[in-house]
Structures are given as C-alpha cells and as structure tokens.
C-alpha cells in the first residue's frame, strides 16, 4: 500500500446502527489468507474482474448469476445454493462483497443474499475504487476453492422486496417512497439523452409522493466510503423527513442504485422497514395507468 488517499474514520466510530456489516480495506487486507472469508466481486462492468481483482476474490455477476434467465426475477434457492457452493461458500464463511460504481452492484448482491437469508455477509466500505486508490494489490489469477456446504432453504421476498401493487398501495396511503435516481430522471426530463437509446421506459417522472434523494448522497465522494451516521441522518431524516420507524420503499431504474440506499437506511441508520422495488422505473414507467407525477 503506497498511494495517498483521503483518510476515513473507523467504521466503529461513525455511529452506524449495524457497523458489523461493513469492513474496511485494511480488514480485508488482514484477512486475505483467512479460509473462512470469501471475497466476492460484483460489478456493472462485466469484464472488470478479469482485468484485476482483490487476491482470492471470486466473481458473481448480477445478470449471469443472480437473475433468472427467463423470467424477470432472481434465481431460486436451489440455484443460489449451487452458486454459493461453487464459490466455496460454507455455513461458517464470512462473505465480503465489493464492486465498482461505489458498490452499486455489491449492495444489489448483498440485497439478494439477504432475500435468501444469508447471515454472514458484509460489504467492503469504499468498494473496489477505494482498494485500488490505496494502491493495494489487484491480481488476475482466478482462484479455485473446494465446493462449499452452505444450505439455502428458500427466498423470502416479503421483508426487503416490494412489488408494483405494494408501491401503488404506498401511493394510495401516502406512505414513504424514495426515488434515488438523478434529479433529471426524477423530474421526467430525461428518459434518455438526445440520440441515446431509450432504456425501456415510455413515461418520465416519478411515483407520486416520492422524495428525490439520489443514491450517491450516501457516499463521501473523496473517500468513496459511506458518510457517517450523523450526515446520513441529516440527508434522510432532517432534510427529507424520513423516520426510522417509517414503512419505506426505495426505487431507481432497475433496483440496483436503490439497493445502495436500502443498505444505507437499513444497516447504517437502522430503519426498521425498508423495501427495495426492483421493478423500479423500467416497470412503473411502462405500466398502463400507473400514476406518474412530474413537478
């Protein structure tokens, strides 16, 4: 480690509700040889892992590995179990997820892991970028591990996942919705840039009543790590009136950016009832007669 990067406070000192779900780059560096720790890289860039990854890390791709190839849904418990076992993950393994784009896809994977009730899963604070900017080692060697023995008994979509009918109920009852897309997408000014392909929504705007809180606000842009709880409370609670006992649904375009906010609200601020609407705008913006609001 040689590069000079902006310093960051210890995770334990940032006031998070569940600091145990985050690990630092130094923690990862200290556990590179730990057989009970499995590093998992999950990226937007499908070939980024192949250009170099943290030593010992395996790859899980959100499309190829986590999505059902036919139905717009996630894989079932049997396939998820086979996937994790193929990565050498056992009951006693601590899984540490990390990835590009400030951990967009790592938090998305984290969210999917939680749908399957994987207990011991953590996130590398600052993600791949922090690790790289600290000048830490990246390698191209793909590790092979013996088959793991983790048991996945099922997937529970009730507590952390929202579907369109539940979003509509939220709208009708004036419950809390958070739109984490860019302000331009929220305002319906941008479905796609001029000359750029439309990424699948026929209508622009936001779900009525949703607050606009872009996902990136949860991250310190200098360190790429999560902001301390005090700053997160200012953003989500003081500025936008959310309360930790609120029933909150978060959404974006396909549920990846909103999984980042789901993570921040659930684990860093200790919100009790946050669900991620993974149908998000690619579903809502195409849904016949779905109510849409534009400022």
């Amino acid at each position: 480690m040689a590069a000079s990067v902006a310093p960051v406070a210890d995770i334990a000192d940032r006031g998070y509700a569940h600091p145990e779900v985050l690990v630092s780059t130094q923690w990862v560096a200290d556990h590179l040889k730990d057989p009970n720790v499995r590093l998992v890289e999950s990226d937007e860039d499908v070939l980024l892992y192949e250009t170099g990854h943290i030593p010992g890390a395996v790859k899980i791709d959100w499309v190829a590995d986590l999505n059902d190839p036919l139905t717009r849904d996630y894989i079932d418990a049997g396939r998820f179990q086979r996937l994790l076992r193929s990565k050498g993950i056992s009951e006693n393994t601590t899984v540490v997820l990390y990835g590009d784009k400030n951990n967009w896809w790592a938090t998305y994977a984290f969210w999917v892991f939680k749908l399957f009730d994987v207990k011991n899963v953590r996130l590398l604070d600052g993600g791949r970028l922090r690790w790289a900017e600290e000048g830490r080692e990246l390698v191209t060697a793909v590790p092979r591990y013996p088959e793991g023995n983790i048991t996945i008994s099922g997937r529970d979509d009730r507590s952390s996942r929202a579907f369109r009918d539940q979003v509509l109920e939220h709208v009708n009852h004036g419950k809390r919705l958070v739109d984490v897309r860019s302000p331009e997408e929220y305002r319906g000014e941008r479905l796609h840039m001029p000359e750029y392909p439309n990424e699948g929504a026929l209508r622009g705007g936001h779900v009525p009543g949703a607050r606009s809180i872009p996902w990136g606000r949860a991250v310190n842009p200098e360190t790429h790590t999560f902001r301390p709880a005090s700053e997160l409370r200012t953003i989500y609670e003081a500025e936008n009136g959310l309360h930790r006992t609120d029933d909150v649904i978060v959404y974006c375009r396909i549920g990846e950016r909103s999984s980042h906010t789901w993570f921040a609200l659930t684990y860093l601020l200790g919100f009790e009832e946050v669900r991620n609407y993974d149908g998000s705008w690619t579903e809502w913006g195409n849904l016949v007669r779905a109510p849409v609001e534009k400022p």
Partner: protein
Amino acid sequence: MDQETRIAWLVDHSQRPRFKGSLPDADARVPGGNPGCGDIITMYVKAKPGEDRIEAVRFEGVGCTLSQAAASILAERMNKEHPTFAEVLEFSYEEMVDILGRGIATSRPQCATLALGTLKGAVKMVETNRRLRAAGHTDEEIVRVRERSGRARSGS
C-alpha cells in the same frame, strides 16, 4: 476461441483500443450512450467519395470494458473490410454478440451493441446527408433540418 482467450482478447482491446480518436474530416460524427451505466461512444465515419462504402471509422468513448472493447473491435473490422453502407446496416446485433462471445456479451447486450448501434446511426446520417445534398440542400440547411428533427424526436 476458448473463454479465457476471448476474455484476454476483449481486455486487450479495451486497454489498447484500435482506431480510437477523432476523425477531423469525417462525414458523420454521432454520439451514443447508455445513460444507466455511463458508457459513451462517439463514432466518426468517413465514406469513400462517390461510393456507398466505408472508408474509415474511428471512435472516442469512455465506459465499461465490454463497450470500449466492442467499439475497438468494430472499428478494426470496418477499417479492414470497408463494407458497404447496406452491409453495415444489415450487420445484426446478434452477429456482434457472437463476435464478442455470447457467454459474455449476452449478459450486457446494451454494452455489447452500443458501438454498432452508434455506427449504424452514423452511416444513416451519411446516407441522408448525401440524399439531402443531391436534392439541392446546403450543408447549413442540413444542419438546421437535423436540429429541428432532433427537437421533434425528444419532444415526442
């Protein structure tokens, strides 16, 4: 090509892109992008004078490994084969996915085909501009027509 070799080939194109840069005397310069993931490609196309055929292609861009590798591979192919406009427009997205490797490209079809879609847009622009010039329009008029049609599209 096995998977490992294919990945190495794609990564190499991404890290050492061929035909990257602007083409000052291009007949068309067309931007394209995937706003969701931040891939941006600008394609420059120069046509052979008097022929409906590619003379040169270059590109500029930033984005993920696959989108940039695909642009480099496509540009290399265009500059080697000098296809006709019709051949470019018939070049299917499925064929592009096959070239890049179905095992990799099918998981990111937008990244895999961004360069091809943008190239097709550039070729169509060259064709249209030629038709407009043949109909007696000046380059300034063509620019004005394009600006108007651009507004019409974004407002539709």
